[in-house]
Symmetry: C2
Subunit: 140 residues, 2 copies
């Protein structure tokens, strides 16, 4: 019961909903694209992504200096249903299309086909040193 409430708390934030909306519509995005499209601070973006990651909603993949985030396949039925409803609802929102367009524009401008600006010479897969839980705040 507690955990369901906790899970809903993660969803109950405008910034996180916006991030999810972007990820619903793009296989994979790096932090800089998200922060630019949503006009968020870098720290704000990173922190909310961390929250989503701790909740198991997204996963990150490191490549060179970048972190690419993507949705994580849902584990439970509820999760799947909730996200489906949310996605539909987010799509109904007037601003929804606009951010997607802005995102498209950015990525087109930067040219990297799905990849971030400067494609690194070689891909170095660095496993997460440690997915430590944050020291303060959200206990998970």
């Amino acid at each position: 019961m507690k955990d369901l409430a906790q899970f809903l708390k993660v969803l109950a934030d405008e910034a996180r909903l916006e991030i999810l909306w972007l990820l619903f519509n793009h296989e994979e995005l790096c932090v800089c694209d998200i922060m630019e499209a949503l006009e968020m601070t870098q720290s704000k973006t990173s922190r909310h992504l961390a929250t989503l990651r701790h909740a198991g909603l997204v996963v990150d993949r490191k490549e060179a200096a970048w972190s690419y985030y993507s949705l994580r396949p849902c584990e439970s039925e509820v999760e799947r249903n909730l996200l489906k409803s949310l996605r539909a609802e987010l799509g109904r929102h007037p601003g929804a299309a606009r951010v997607l367009q802005r995102l498209q524009a950015q990525m087109a401008r930067k040219g990297g086909n799905g990849r971030c600006v400067v494609t690194p010479t070689r891909a170095i897969v660095r496993p997460r040193t440690h997915d430590r839980t944050p020291l303060r705040g959200t206990t998970r």
Copy 2:
């Protein structure tokens, strides 16, 4: 977008989820039954019911000294979907059946068939004097 987050915030609370679970399974309940079944303080129960009411999730009906609360038919598609998922999930919770049993036991013990203990001699429908939004805290 903001409003969706706001709506989710209302759902993202253990006490409110528990109350909703009871209301999912009973047409109408009065405050004292809810607080007893969930072992909550009176003020806590009343407060959370007020929050649910302000969010449009429940309605109250006054009869004599009692307030009977019931679910309010959903207005939007999202709302319907979300609540449906939540209800299913709440049902999966181990404690779910237990509170319902406790509630049943109470109501049986008190005998009033669905009504609260002392059935008033006559039903006096008293319209809400005023559904004022709370002065502090929740800005809506």
